[in-house]
């Protein structure tokens, strides 16, 4: 009962996700299209097409399983760390947010909408990975995942804008209908592919995924098997009609896929931590998918689609199993595990099915994922067939290493009791892998529906077992032989694999990431140091560039500046302004704060007089009032400061480098401000200015004082913004003087 009360959000979420899964099945083909921002041409367009059903089904189905698992796992996880159990609710909430964004993402039919959900998943993943926020590793990993996936997400936005600029629509179906091969489409497709590859942790963006294993296991099981990383290949599948416009881009995907298969496969063989093995395996597995999309064509797309479905089932099962294993034994490393099969046969069976599926053994859904994979690779050429066999052998080897290392051999680690709900999700998913291996048709139909949407034509080939020596079967046999050979000879190759992994750490992209981050931080510190060390440099940083720009403008276009004349009627105004100028210069002289305040208000009052001469009584009134109250408040504030501090500050000598720098800055900025204002005011006023229009419209708005009408009506929104600032200032002063108590 207690766990039910504590985990209510997880169970309710799981129920909702289950309902979502059922709804996904029932509502397949449904569409929703509502205007969102008509002036931008953005619509809230969703459709539950083949791709939507496949990925939304994975997001809700595996999401439901993971939430149930999390409801038992996360409280244990928090207990180990001595944290209160109620923090688990945060994790459930973000898992649900992630699930909703994922469903939104995979059903969106509008590029802008796609981008919004894309970023939402990144934000949710940040909080999920950083759930153990007291650990530096977790925070580092979360930031890395966010930066890698969110910076590249900007490419997606740029691509959307590019396509909109060219074709005038954000709608994906419309774009697919009109897009033709050309530089714009190619550029946009490359940008989209970059965003997708970063999200799917493909080389060279793969480094964030192993780091993200700092997340609690249910998060890894969900995000890093079926959801977040799947979002990348989803995007490739969704925008496939754009990608296939450029053969070169598809070839690029092919290369990235192969690199990811190699890097992920080799790393997975060297890692000792359970979750690290799985994370690197995920890199390799999504490499397969990228590779197959790069091959393209009906067989490539269909194979990719089936692969995503089969892999999500197996990989989430393996992650959940890894969590159950480490809860049972208290160990997370293969080298300290062993012999668990005798004590936990059920867990061993479920995990075994999933691992067998990953290794593509017969009677699992995994067999068909490799059959399709081999067929697609062979279609491209025999060399690609060889690559396919090699990487499948790697997969079999690390899947075997994972399972054999945990469940066979000498018994090691503790044998704690764990809740049954930590074991059953693995068994359930493992059983699905088995069922998919016997009756593949339902899974294949789901995958084909998605592939048909990508490919733009119906695909309905269903894979099946053949008891003959066709090429795919021969390749499968070769894979088994090579995989078992790899497992048996691990002593021989492991030093080389370890060395390769170390080289990757030393010069790999993660190091570039660290260097780039460090460099950016240093640049930011440098600019901060130059610009905002003290008030003077800060003001100078604004004034000097402004003055220089105006100077350049004046020198470049002297004809644009007119020099007006001073008439007899202006004498009074000029006198007032002269007083103001004298006061302004005088503010630089006094050493005592009180004198300074008085001179400043002299300056203000003389400007108020100038406004009065200009025939602006409203402005003059406000200027007088503001000057009065500010002078008084200034004095009040100085009364708050300790006398000693004021006296000491007043006695400080001017630093030598300032003696010339500050007047120079003031002179440059002041002179060119004078030039631009004088030039602007000397030009004859345009016939129908905004001011004239406001004056004309004021009586109609029931006012005769045009300034008030502008403030309260024509430019009301500005006024609202300004008075909000006043309210914020009040809160700020309350925070400084009385710890935020307003009353």
């Amino acid at each position: 009962m207690r766990t039910l009360r504590e985990g209510w959000l997880a169970y309710a979420g799981a129920a909702a996700a289950g309902a979502g899964l059922v709804a996904t099945g029932l509502l397949a083909g449904a569409e929703l299209d509502v205007a969102w921002a008509p002036t931008l041409g953005a619509r809230l367009a969703f459709a539950l097409d083949g791709i939507g059903v496949l990925y939304a089904g994975l997001a809700t189905g595996i999401g439901a399983v993971v939430l149930v698992y999390a409801a038992r796992y996360v409280p244990l996880h928090l207990d180990h760390q001595g944290r209160p159990r109620r923090e688990a609710t945060r994790l459930y909430a973000f898992l649900l947010l992630f699930m909703v964004s994922m469903v939104g993402l995979v059903t969106a039919q509008d590029l802008l909408l796609l981008f919004v959900f894309w970023d939402l998943t990144a934000v949710a993943s940040y909080f999920l990975i950083a759930f153990d926020r007291h650990e530096r590793n977790a925070r580092y990993a979360a930031l890395m995942a966010l930066l890698v996936t969110a910076i590249t997400a900007v490419f997606l936005l740029v691509a959307a804008v590019l396509l909109h600029h060219e074709y005038g629509t954000f709608s994906l179906p419309e774009l697919f209908a009109v897009a033709e091969p050309g530089p714009t489409v190619t550029t946009a497709a490359v940008l989209i592919a970059l965003a997708a590859l970063a999200k799917s942790a493909q080389v060279p963006f793969h480094f964030w995924l192993p780091r993200a294993m700092a997340a609690p296991t249910p998060v890894s099981a969900y995000l890093h098997s079926a959801a977040m990383v799947a979002a990348g290949v989803f995007l490739l599948a969704r925008t496939y009609p754009l990608l296939e416009q450029s053969r070169l881009l598809l070839d690029g995907l092919l290369v990235v896929g192969m690199l990811s298969m190699a890097v992920g496969g080799v790393l997975a063989l060297t890692r000792d931590e359970l979750k690290q093995v799985l994370a690197n395996s995920t890199i390799a597995q999504y490499g397969y998918v990228t590779f197959m999309l790069g091959i393209g064509g009906a067989s490539g797309v269909a194979a990719a689609s089936f692969y995503v479905l089969a892999h999500a089932l197996m990989k989430s099962a393996l992650f959940l199993a890894a969590g159950a294993v480490s809860e049972t034994t208290g160990e997370t490393r293969l080298s300290r595990l062993g012999g668990l099969g005798r004590d936990r046969p059920l867990l061993a069976a479920g995990t075994g099915l999933a691992a067998a599926g990953l290794g593509a053994l017969p009677f699992t859904a995994g067999f068909f994922k490799d059959e399709l994979f081999f067929a697609a690779a062979l279609e491209r050429g025999p060399a690609f067939g060889a690559v396919a066999v090699a990487s499948a052998a790697l997969t079999l080897a690390y899947a075997g290493r994972f399972w054999l290392g945990i469940f066979t051999g000498r018994a090691r680690g503790e044998r704690r009791r764990v809740p049954a709900l930590l074991v059953w999700p693995t068994v359930l998913l493992g059983a699905l892998v088995l069922v998919g291996g016997v009756a593949v048709e339902p899974l294949a139909r789901l995958a084909n529906a998605a592939a048909s949407v990508s490919f733009g034509a119906t695909i309905d080939s269903i894979p099946s077992y053949h008891l003959d020596l066709r090429a795919e079967n021969a390749m499968a046999l070769a894979t088994y032989a090579a995989g078992i050979a790899l497992l048996v000879t691990s002593r021989l190759w492991s030093p080389f694999a370890e060395a390769a992994a170390r080289v990757g750490e030393r010069v790999g992209p993660e190091r570039w990431y660290d260097l780039a981050l460090l460099g950016l931080n240093q640049l930011s510190d440098l600019i901060h140091d130059v610009e905002v060390r003290d008030l003077r440099t800060r003001v100078a940083a604004v004034l000097v560039p402004a003055g220089v720009l105006v100077a350049l403008g004046t020198v470049a276009t002297p004809a644009a500046y007119e020099l007006g004349t001073v008439g007899r009627g202006d004498v009074a105004l000029v006198l007032v302004l002269a007083v103001a100028a004298v006061a302004a210069v005088a503010t630089t002289l006094p050493r005592h704060h009180l004198t300074l305040v008085l001179i400043l208000s002299t300056l203000g009052f003389s400007l108020a007089v100038a406004y009065a001469f200009f025939g602006a009584p409203d402005v003059a009134l406000v200027a007088v009032l503001v000057e009065t109250i500010f002078a008084l408040l200034f004095l009040g504030v100085f009364a708050l400061m300790p006398r000693l501090v004021l006296r000491r500050e007043a006695a400080l000598p001017t630093r030598p480098n300032r003696r010339w720098r500050d007047p120079l800055v003031a002179a440059v900025a002041g002179f060119f401000a004078f030039v631009v204002v004088w030039g602007a005011l000397s030009r004859p006023a345009p016939e129908e200015s905004v001011a004239a229009e406001h004056t004309r419209l004021a009586p109609e708005a029931h006012g005769s004082d045009v300034v008030t009408v502008i403030l309260a009506d024509f430019r009301g929104l500005d006024t609202l913004g300004e008075i909000t600032v006043v309210a914020v200032a009040l809160v700020g002063i309350a925070a400084l003087l009385r710890r935020g108590r307003l009353w």
Binding site: D713, L717, A727, L730
Partner: protein
């Protein structure tokens, strides 16, 4: 602080007139010089004078100064309400009623329009904020001397 009887007398005498002038500036804002902002500052100056002449304790006994931040908040809410209420009727934000061209209701020479309500919000906010700052500063000064 040392103040003479004369200062205190003048300060007390000026309080009511400063409020009256503020009220006039406020309601006449649409027809003549001045608006909610000016009115707020004028009224706040009247209150500030009391602080200078009588000190914090006496000024706060005389006037309900502690409600100033609440008044500021109420002013902001009023301004927001007047600004965005038209959205409920399907009009653009900052649509003022009666609409242009239609004759407003008169009370004497005063015209009732929602723009003035917005200005009242500005007045309350400025008045409340300035008086609030005066009060916080006076309080802090007293704490420092004690």
């Amino acid at each position: 602080m040392v103040t003479t009887d004369l200062t205190q007398l003048v300060a007390r005498l000026l309080l009511a007139p400063s409020f009256a002038v503020a009220a006039a500036v406020l309601v006449k804002g649409y027809a003549d010089v001045g608006d909610g902002f000016s009115a707020g500052v004028i009224a706040a100056l009247g209150v500030l004078l009391q602080y200078v002449a009588f000190g914090r304790r006496e000024a706060e006994r005389l006037l309900p100064v502690r409600y100033a931040p609440a008044a500021a908040l109420a002013g902001l809410l009023l301004a927001l309400a007047v600004a965005f209420a038209p959205l409920l009727r399907g009009d653009a934000a900052f649509t003022h009623y009666p609409r242009a061209g239609t004759e407003p209701i008169h009370v004497g020479t005063l015209e009732l329009i929602t723009a003035v309500a917005f200005d009242v919000g500005v007045f309350l906010l400025v008045f409340g904020a300035v008086v609030g700052v005066i009060r916080y500063a006076a309080e802090a000064g007293e704490g420092r001397r004690a």
